[in-house]
Amino acid sequence: MEASITLKKVGKLVGDKTILAGLTFGIEKGTIVAIVGDNDAGKSTMLRLIAGLENPNYGAVFLHGLDTEKRRIETRQTVAFIPHDIDLDPWLTLEQNIQFDARLYGEHRNKIQARIDDYSHALELGSLLYSMAGRVPQGIQKKAMIIRALAHDPSILIMDEPTAFMDAKSRRLTWDLMRKLRGHKTIVYSSQFLPEIEAVNDRIMVIHNGSVLLDGSLDKLLESTLEYHQFAIEFEDLNENLFKILCSVTTVVNPTKVGNAFHFYGRSRKVFFEVLNACSDAIMKDLSIEKLSLQDLLDSTFAQKGLDG
């Protein structure tokens, strides 16, 4: 497939600190890519670099094969960026904010208005579109920012926490719209809402300390964990001695104690019975077995060392 976004050995420094280190990857046209990682992992910086809001210290970012630094004007025509924080002009209405921004891209007002109508209908913005930006809730402003980004019809949409400040219904409408845009626009976004990421993605990139730690579809990322399960056993009294005994079971991975509950990961259900044997004298109140999710994958211990680490 044709690459829409290409990063070649991109690095970003702030002072002596490396924010991004030699990132090299491509993103296919028309796909939705989710960026996840801890706070301060470098997600926002990476998105800002792709959007052209900042320049890399080394390496290059290409949009549709054009270097964003050398062909600034052409590349900016193709990309739109939605930052995490509200950046609308509070003294203009939501509609005026959108109209002004799209006009800077040389779009005709009738075309802009048609897109505003379409997207505001999809996001159920209604008459709020004509309210002063500074007087509407942030979730509404965020929806207007999404329309603003789409009003000049970019082929690449970069979004940093696009559903931040939104209520549940607005989040659903936003992701419905993104699903409709799939195939027509390349969408790269970051989010802390993992259920949203699990629901809307063609590919997930896990960023850690400025590097891509994991990269692939959700199924591919979970493939390595498929044999693993998360177990939890709640005891009437999980004392230190019992906890030590349970930890000593060689097949138990990453054991933790939360109150009287013993949490651990295991490669097969057989581990569970080994643990049960080890604590046959203790009184158990509850137990559960779950398949691993993206949340488990992103657990810092896993992300850094892997399940077997």
Partner: protein, 248 residues
């Protein structure tokens, strides 16, 4: 450029009543407080013009500075430090100089309208002071003054990050141009060493050139073109500075 002009119109329209009120109140107050008292101290200029006639171009230039300041401050300082609308503007496929010129010229249009209202108010307060054939020159030089001063405020807005520093620098600049640029007090009233320096300030040159054409009838090429040249240089510097500040 048209996008910036429409935006300016929207900003005025969205606060229409306060805009109209300020368009009359500011020229009225400035005319009253700066001229009535001073004309009893400086009765006439050195070349014999009544003070209220001599001061008119300086008053309009000062008014243009007072009016353009909040417009520039909002777009280049307030919105920038609060990560508001300036960031999406810098992401658009336009040059930084276009952003500088777009904001500056659209603000200038608002200023010109209020200057015209100001001239009307002044002609009511001092009917003999405003000659209709001079109005065009006063507006033209007020525009040059506002362009140059606006660029100085853009420079200040982009350099400073803290409101307290910005306000201190702004007040110092406004008071300095009020007294040291020949707007309200002629240069010969200052000691020779100071006046010889003051008259070469680019902002002073605008008032000197304007009065030259109004009261002597000669077009002062040097004092007209130098401020324009400085304005162009400042636009280039401000464009570069905006690019640096936005890390783009």
């Amino acid at each position: 450029m048209s996008a910036f002009i429409i935006r300016r119109w929207w900003l005025i329209r969205n606060r229409l009543m306060s805009s109209i009120a300020l368009a009359f109140i500011i020229p009225f107050i400035l005319s009253i407080v700066t001229v009535f008292g001073t004309k009893n101290i400086i009765i006439q200029s050195i070349n014999g013009q009544p003070y209220e006639v001599w001061v008119l171009p300086g008053l309009m230039m000062f008014m243009s500075a007072v009016l353009i300041t909040p417009l520039i401050y909002r777009d280049f300082f307030d919105l920038r430090i609060h990560n508001k609308a300036l960031i999406p503007m810098t992401l658009a496929p336009i040059r930084k100089s276009t952003i500088i010129l777009g904001i500056l010229f659209s603000a200038l249009l608002e200023v010109i309208v209020i200057i015209i209202i100001g001239l009307g108010i002044y002609s009511i307060i001092f009917p003999q002071a405003v000659a209709i054939e001079q109005v065009g020159f006063i507006i033209m030089y007020s525009i040059i003054f506002a362009l140059l001063y606006g660029n100085i405020i853009i420079l200040l807005s982009l350099f400073t990050e803290r409101i307290s520093i910005f306000m201190s620098a702004l007040l110092t600049t406004l008071i300095s141009i009020m007294f040291a640029c020949g707007l309200f007090i002629e240069f010969p009233f200052f000691p020779n060493s100071m006046s010889s320096v003051f008259q070469y300030f680019p902002l002073s040159m605008v008032s000197v050139a304007c009065r030259s054409i109004l009261f002597i009838g000669s077009f002062d090429t040097f004092n007209t073109l130098t401020p324009l040249a400085v304005t162009i240089i400042l636009i280039v510097i401000n464009s570069f500075l905006l690019k640096q500040k936005m890390k783009q």
